[in-house]
Every structure is written in structure tokens, then in C-alpha cells.
């Protein structure tokens, strides 16, 4: 390796060095390398000699460039990143600095760091990037921060200057709720206070930079927190002769073991862990935070990528399509209200719009501005998001992993942030009721999968919608007849039929104001059919996406199939099949059957 033997058995900590340009980041790193004897033999002398020959004064910052040159020539077999060591552990410096798009690289580097050194020039004082980087460290969740006031030699080691900077900067950090471990006066050039205390700074009694880093303790894994397992995928490799259906992911917090009762969100579906699966490893019975896991389930419920699994006895995550969040924006084009972006949180991937901008903290002075309608390059802001569909998530104070997200614009990650608060959306109450209903449901001994196997079909609902007189009912009746003749358990239900039975009270009161309740009750009725293993064909006039959202809150998303009938689609509903007309309803029946076959609801004969 490029540097003298790193003892691999020692603990490692990843450190990022940030701060305003020319405040001495590289000099501090150079000092840490040199004064901890972490440089290759003769390196320091070689660089000094090179400077002498070139007639320029030696600087410690040159050491980093020299190491990089060496790595470029490929004589390393170990980490390409720069590291130094103390008695206690190895520190790996993440190569964040770089002139172009510094913030972008800093975010990439700093998001993998455990600790940060933030450098401020004693002579120049707190500058734009001192504030910006402080803010970003807070948002990236880096809590181990040392603030280094560098170039103390330029201010004659003045305690007053140091105190002034500490006062100004800590006031700023206080406002953000960030508490650095300490402020340290140093001179990188002279070596005062970086690794050893210095007589020039006799008035300072705190630790050197290296001792301060050594005081940090490694973060304890979050295994005692509630389980959060973002589902990465569900595998069934049956064409390899493997019939296991395995749910896979990495554990963001908590632990999981065989036999645990799990709940998946947003659906609220419950099942039990049957076995934990692995390859080329002894059989495992439990896994915890940070580990990868795959498991089979006792009851084969519908699970898909993007959901979060938790244990039934753990506190559940939030589920909503609205949230308040703190974000940073790296895109050259501004982030604007009313435009579609993608929000990725855990393994979910969802369309999102900025519904409201609460405040923008200006990139240069971080004073809140409240009158802006767009978020510019490198801005930091607090916003309300509206997602196209609800997702499961947490808030940032307790769950770092499941409260972080990135924003994708035009296929590129252009921003990120943390969730501050879950806001109710219009389906929150319905969702709560469904979770309670699932919890309180009096279970039968016949499972869904047993019914599916016996009836040779999966429960599902085909919603046929469109304008009045578009031929919905003709198609629905034909479809029911055909499926019935095929031997399926199928039932046709016009949504209007409920108005004279289950929903007679709503009809009496006048439907317009109670439409959502009408749809909810219809969905609950449909849920009974689904639970009984039956296929439901439903007709309704001009259903909207809002209606579909209710339906998908009450019953499993993968059971719902929407067919729009008619030349023009007159609502915002997301449909699965569009039939221009029903002049030939038999053809429509064939197309719907193809859809159901493609989705594995019924099988090809």
C-alpha cells in the first residue's frame, strides 16, 4: 500500500474534511498524515526536496497531491483513499474536496462518513461554505463534528479571535440543532494543536484534533430499535427448480427472526416469518441491523418492492402521501412547484410534487426567505411533498435510514433530504381503519393461498368504468358469464346496487357529499369477496384516481384491475386496459382475460 502498513485489525472510522475554499483542509490532512507517521517512508523528505528544487515553499497540502500521484501510478494494493492512524484506530479520509461541483462530491463523500472535521480560517472567519457545509452535515446525519479554527498563526494565536469565531459559529449551529463536540484552535502550517498541544496556544486546554477524533465512539447499531426492513425484492426462481418465495432486503433497523409476526406497510398485511434463507452459510435464525436478509413466509400475502416490513409488536412507520421535509437541491435547473419528480426512500420509488415551499434558506447567508416559489441550485429548503401514492417512512429524529430520500429529476439524482413530519392525507382515516380491521379480524383456518389453489384463481376485482352508456354493463355481464363458464368463482356487482342496501343511509342523505364513504363501503364489501377467494366484476361511472386510491387502500393493490371503456378517458384514473368501444364485447372479454392471465390471476388453459 502507499502508506506505511495500516493495521487491518484496528477499528476504522471514515472522516470527511469540509470547509470554505482555502481555509486549509488539505493542510490539516497533510499534518495529520505527517505527524502521525502515516506517510510512506521518505515521502515527506521527497516532497520537501522537490519544493526546494522548484524554488517554492513547502506546504503540507502538497503531501496529499503526492499521495494521489502515487496512487494514480498504481502502486497501492490497499485503499485508494488517504488514511492516518492513532493509537486507537485507523482514520480513512474520504476524498470529498474537488473544485468542480464541490457540493455534489461533498454530499457523495460525506454521506458515507461517520465523523467530520469542519475547517474555518481564523483570519477570514466564518464564510458562506462554512455555513453551508455545517448545514449539510446536519442534514446528512453526521453528528460527530469537530470544528477546527485554522491559521491561528496569522492572528498571533489570539484567544479573542478564536472566541469570536466560536461564538458566531456556535450561534449559527445552535439554530440548526447541531452540537459539535468541540472547537479547536490550530495552525496547520506550524503544526500547533493538530496532533499535539502547542505552547503557542497555552490558553487552550482542550484536545488536539487527533485526540478529539479519538474521543468519538463508534455508533452502536440500531438493533434495539423497531424493525425496519425496506423490501428490495420478492424472488421466486421456479425456472431454476426452486419453489421458495423469498422476500429480500437489508435491515435498516431492528432485528428479525424465524417465527416473528410481520406487518408490511403501506398495505398493513400480516404474516409470519417461516425460515431465514441464505447461500453457502450455516442455517441462520436471526438477523439484525445492517445485515442482508431473505426469508420465506407462512402465509403467502402480497408483498412488493418499496414496502417496509416491521414486527407486529414494534411501533409502525408512518404511511401517507404527504410529508414535510428538509431538502437540499443540487440541480442546475430549479426545483419548481407542480412539476413531477421521483422520490426514492428506502426501496420505494414514487412520483412526487412540491405542494408548498415553507422556507428557503439562502445559500450564502442561510437567512430564511419565505417568498420564493422555486428552489435554486445549492439551495436548502423546507417543503411539503405530495406523492402520487402513499409510501411508508419514518421521521428523522429516530430512524436515519428510513427517513432519508433522494429526488430524481430527468433520470438523475439531483437532490436529497430528510422527513421532518408525516402529514395526514385524505385517506389517512380509511387506512387507520383498515390496519385496525386487519389486526382485529377473526381468522379462519382456511388460508388465502389454499383457496387460490382449490379454486384455481386468485382473488381479484375487475373495475369496468367509463362514461354513462359506454357499454360497461354489457361487457361486465359478458365477462362474468365467460369466467363462470370457464369454471371460475365470479360475481358481478354494479356499484350502484349498494345504494339500496349497505349504503341506503347515504342515498337518503344525498350522495354527493358522501361519495368517498360510498366508495369506501363498496371497497369493504369487495374485501369480503377477496377474502373469500372470489373474482369480482364491478361497473361504475367515471371513477377517478381518488376512487382507485380508496379501493387500493382497503384491498390489496395487486388485486385491482381497471378497464376504461370509451374513446376518451375523461377522468384522471390510472387504467390497466383501455377499450375504445364495446361494439364487439366478446373481443373485450378476450382482452380482459389476457390481462388477467398476464398477471397470473387466472391461468391459460
Amino acid at each position: 500500500m502507499a502508506q506505511n502498513g495500516m493495521d487491518l485489525t484496528k477499528q476504522q472510522m471514515h472522516v470527511v474534511v469540509v470547509g470554505h475554499v482555502d481555509h486549509g483542509k488539505s493542510t490539516i490532512i497533510g499534518r495529520l498524515l505527517a505527524d502521525t507517521n502515516s506517510l510512506p517512508k521518505g515521502k515527506l523528505e521527497a516532497v520537501r526536496e522537490k519544493c526546494r528544487k522548484g524554488g517554492k515553499p513547502f506546504e503540507y497540502a502538497f503531501l496529499i497531491d503526492a499521495l494521489k500521484d502515487e496512487q494514480a501510478q498504481s502502486i497501492t494494493i490497499d485503499s485508494a483513499r488517504v488514511f492516518f492512524q492513532s493509537e486507537k484506530r485507523n482514520y480513512i479520509i474520504i476524498d470529498a474536496p474537488g473544485h468542480i461541483e464541490f457540493i455534489k462530491n461533498m454530499v457523495t463523500g460525506a454521506s458515507h462518513a461517520e465523523a467530520a472535521i469542519l475547517v474555518i480560517d481564523a483570519d477570514e472567519g466564518v464564510q458562506e461554505n462554512s455555513r453551508r457545509h455545517g448545514y449539510l452535515l446536519g442534514m446528512l446525519g453526521i453528528k460527530k463534528i469537530v470544528v477546527v479554527v485554522n491559521k491561528m498563526d496569522l492572528v498571533r494565536y489570539s484567544e479573542e479571535v478564536f472566541k469570536g469565531i466560536v461564538e458566531e459559529y456556535s450561534r449559527y449551529l445552535d439554530g440548526l440543532g447541531i452540537q459539535p463536540m468541540c472547537y479547536i484552535p490550530v495552525s496547520g502550517r506550524e503544526g500547533d494543536g493538530v496532533v499535539k498541544p502547542s505552547p503557542n496556544l497555552a490558553w487552550y486546554t482542550g484536545p488536539s484534533v487527533l485526540s478529539a477524533l479519538d474521543l468519538f465512539e463508534k455508533e452502536k447499531p440500531l438493533s434495539d430499535l423497531p424493525l425496519r426492513l425496506p423490501v428490495q425484492d420478492v424472488y421466486k426462481f421456479s425456472n431454476y427448480g426452486d419453489n421458495r418465495r423469498i422476500v429480500a432486503g437489508n435491515i435498516a433497523s431492528g432485528r428479525i427472526k424465524a417465527g416473528d409476526e410481520l406487518v408490511f406497510y403501506p398495505s398493513g398485511k400480516r404474516t409470519r416469518v417461516k425460515t431465514l434463507e441464505s447461500f453457502n452459510a450455516p442455517r441462520i435464525t436471526s438477523r439484525e441491523t445492517g445485515q442482508t436478509v431473505g426469508f420465506t413466509m407462512v402465509e403467502q400475502i402480497y408483498v412488493n418492492r418499496g414496502q417496509i416490513a416491521t414486527r407486529a409488536k414494534d411501533a409502525p412507520p408512518h404511511v401517507s402521501s404527504r410529508m414535510r421535509a428538509s431538502i437540499f437541491w443540487l440541480g442546475k435547473q430549479p426545483l419548481v412547484m407542480g412539476k413531477d419528480y421521483i422520490l426514492k426512500l428506502g426501496t420505494s420509488h414514487e412520483r412526487v410534487q412540491v405542494a408548498d415551499i415553507h422556507k428557503i434558506i439562502d445559500a450564502s447567508d442561510y437567512e430564511a426567505q419565505n417568498d420564493r416559489t422555486q428552489i435554486d441550485h445549492h439551495d436548502v429548503a423546507e417543503v411539503t411533498f405530495k406523492l402520487a401514492h402513499p409510501i411508508a417512512f419514518d421521521t428523522s429524529e429516530k430512524f436515519p435510514e428510513t427517513s432519508r430520500f433522494v429526488l430524481v429529476d430527468e433520470f438523475e439524482i439531483r437532490g436529497g433530504g430528510i422527513v421532518l413530519e408525516a402529514l395526514p392525507d385524505e385517506d389517512s382515516q380509511i387506512r387507520e381503519d383498515v390496519y385496525t380491521r386487519n389486526l382485529k379480524w377473526i381468522p379462519s383456518l382456511v388460508t388465502m393461498s389454499q383457496r387460490a389453489e382449490k379454486y384455481n384463481q386468485r382473488s381479484s376485482i375487475v373495475v369496468i368504468t367509463g362514461k354513462r352508456h359506454c357499454g360497461r354493463k354489457i361487457l361486465a355481464r359478458k365477462l362474468e358469464r365467460q369466467l363462470f363458464e370457464d369454471g371460475k368463482l365470479v360475481y358481478y356487482l354494479g356499484i350502484g346496487s349498494l345504494l339500496y342496501g349497505v349504503n341506503a343511509d347515504l342515498k337518503r342523505r344525498g350522495l354527493a357529499s358522501d361519495w368517498r364513504e360510498h366508495v369506501r363501503r363498496f371497497a369493504e364489501v369487495a374485501h369480503l369477496f377477496m377474502d373469500a377467494g372470489i373474482m369480482l366484476v364491478v361497473t361504475a361511472i367515471e371513477l377517478t384516481q381518488d376512487d382507485r386510491d380508496i379501493l387500493e387502500t382497503v384491498i390489496d393493490k395487486d388485486m385491482v384491475h381497471v378497464v376504461w371503456v370509451g374513446e376518451k378517458v375523461t377522468t384522471d384514473i390510472e387504467y390497466d386496459l383501455h377499450l375504445k368501444d364495446t361494439k364487439n364485447p366478446d373481443e373485450g372479454v378476450v382482452l380482459v382475460k389476457h390481462l388477467l392471465q398476464a398477471r397470473g390471476i387466472i391461468f391459460k388453459p
Binding site: 476504522q12 501510478q73 498504481s74 494494493i77 457523495t108 428490495q232 425484492d233 447461500f279
Partner: protein, 293 residues
């Protein structure tokens, strides 16, 4: 061994992200130790299976043991194996061993060009048929949109600038300055039609980690890596005209690990036996920008 597990968890996560997000996904397998560890990690991620094709760019100058080993594992692990090569350049003898071109041009023709045409579906692809035990031409090959590659950040200068998910444009080119940020465990998984993405699950691994993992998991490797009595072994595998064995008596995985961590190779670069690196000024950046692995 805790650090190996952490590396494994991250690589497994990245492999699953790749599988979940790319419809036409493939993985380059050179039969070297790195891409073989990658193959093993895929089996970890997918519980014993490798649910996408492996791609080998055959220059026809590979050391024969590598090809024997490849086909043995293909059969044993029931792998979907795709092979591509630059048949035109080989037929016209435009190669370095034929004395027609220099080393770098030979690499460009037999590796970079062959790779590009194999990935985009223009070149001929041969696929192993497990019933007939032969390679047969693939009909209607589709372009790969995601390609998993075993590059490591510590190999040489240019690779340490890589991301886990690294987009390539239509010409297969790599724009170092305009790379998307990667933070937390979110990667670039959305892509414009026509572009493709290189995925690097081994970016954080070192040469030493690779051998430690081979030892811990007992992964089968090519015999060329070990000394068989003549005091020589290969540290890095490639084409025989340009790859040379190193002086070493290490004949087991453990001996290789000792040699790398405290022994004679603790300060010498892995690719020092690769002649083409020196011809490219040490960085390989020129070749890599055009799609070389």
C-alpha cells in the same frame, strides 16, 4: 472478518438493486478472481442462483486453463453464459501477437470494440446450451441496459473516480466530470432510453479483501493463481502475449494472503504484470473512457 461481511452486505444490496431496476442485465465474467467473487456474491444475493447472463469477451488469446475453468463452472452452476469476440479483427489478423498493431490498439480491437458490440447487440453472441453442451449463436440479441462489472477502486487511478452505478452514453463513453451523486444507499437507477449503466458492486474491495473472501467462502479459482513448483504464479490474468507470471512460491489462498499483507507484494501493484497499462501512462484512463474494464 467483520469488515468482509460489511463488504458482502453492501455488494449484495447493490446486486439486488441492479436486478430490480434493469430489465436487460448482464455481468462481465473474465474468470479472474474479482469477477469470480462477483459471481459468488450474485449467488449470495439470489440464494444460489445467478438470474442473469454472464458475459465473457473472448480475445482468443486467453490462457487455455481459463477457458476450461469457465466451461466447468458454467456446467456446474448452470450459468447462462454469453460469449462475444471481434471475429473480423481476428480473421484479418489485426492483433498484437500477429505483429499488426501495438498492444493498446489490440486491447481496443479485441476487448473494447468487441465488448461494445456484444453489449449493444450488434455483435454475434454465442450462448451455452446446457442440453447440447455447446455454444450456439443467440438469435435476436437485445442490448444490455445494465452491466455488472468487478472493478475495484484500488486497482489504479481512474477506477477510484468511479461510482457504484455509473452511466455510459450511447457511444459507451464515460463522462468523469458529470457523474451523478450517490449518497446514502440510493443509486442512479433511472436512465434515459439509449443509455446504459455500469454497476460496480466491488468498488470498495481491495485485492486483499478478494483473497480473504475466497478463503472464507472456499470459492473455486483458476489454478493459474497458484505456484505449482516452478516458483511462478499469475497475480492477474489476461491474454498470454501480454500477461506474465510473477516470481512467487505461494501455492494456497492463505499463502497468497500472507504474501499480499506482509510479504513480498505488500508494496507492489497488482497489475504490474500487465504490459498494456504501462503503454497507457499507468492510468488506463484512455482505454476506460471508451469502455474498457
Amino acid at each position: 472478518m467483520e469488515h468482509l461481511q460489511e463488504l458482502e452486505y453492501r455488494s449484495v444490496y447493490i446486486l439486488r438493486e441492479a436486478y430490480a431496476n434493469f430489465k436487460n442485465l448482464g455481468m462481465l465474467w473474465s474468470m479472474g478472481k474479482d469477477s469470480t467473487v462477483l459471481l459468488w456474491l450474485a449467488r449470495k444475493a439470489f440464494f444460489g442462483h445467478v438470474p442473469f447472463p454472464l458475459i465473457h469477451i473472448d480475445t482468443h488469446y486467453k490462457i487455455p486453463e481459463m477457458i476450461t475453468y469457465r466451461d466447468r463452472l458454467v456446467r456446474e452452476m448452470k450459468l447462462t453464459m454469453v460469449i462475444g469476440s471481434n471475429d473480423e479483427a481476428l480473421a484479418e489478423k489485426r492483433t498484437f501477437p500477429d505483429g499488426a498493431v501495438d498492444r493498446l490498439t489490440c486491447c481496443k480491437l479485441l476487448k473494447t470494440d468487441a465488448l461494445r458490440r456484444t453489449l449493444n447487440g450488434e455483435g454475434k453472441r454465442m450462448v451455452y446450451n446446457h442440453e447440447t453442451n455447446r455454444y450456439e449463436e443467440e438469435k435476436n440479441p437485445e442490448p444490455f441496459t445494465g452491466v455488472i462489472v468487478g472493478a475495484r477502486a484500488d486497482e489504479e487511478g481512474s477506477r477510484s473516480k468511479e461510482r457504484y452505478f455509473s452511466p455510459r452514453d450511447r457511444q459507451n463513453e464515460w463522462d468523469i466530470a458529470e457523474q451523478p451523486p450517490e449518497f446514502w444507499n440510493q443509486y442512479k437507477t433511472d436512465f434515459a432510453p439509449g443509455t446504459n449503466v455500469r454497476i460496480h458492486p466491488l468498488l470498495d474491495w481491495t485485492e486483499l479483501n478478494i483473497w480473504e473472501y475466497i478463503l472464507a467462502e472456499n470459492i473455486p479459482t483458476v489454478s493459474l493463481y497458484y505456484n505449482h513448483g516452478d516458483g511462478k504464479r499469475y497475480r492477474s490474468l489476461g491474454c498470454y502475449p501480454c500477461t506474465f507470471p510473477v516470481e512467487s512460491t505461494a501455492s494456497t489462498v492463505q499463502e497468497i494472503i500472507d504474501e499480499l499483507s506482509v510479504g513480498k507484494f505488500a508494496n507492489i501493484a497488482e497489475r504490474s504484470g500487465r504490459a498494456q497499462d504501462k503503454d497507457d501512462g499507468g492510468g488506463l484512463e484512455t482505454l476506460r473512457r471508451e469502455g474498457y474494464m
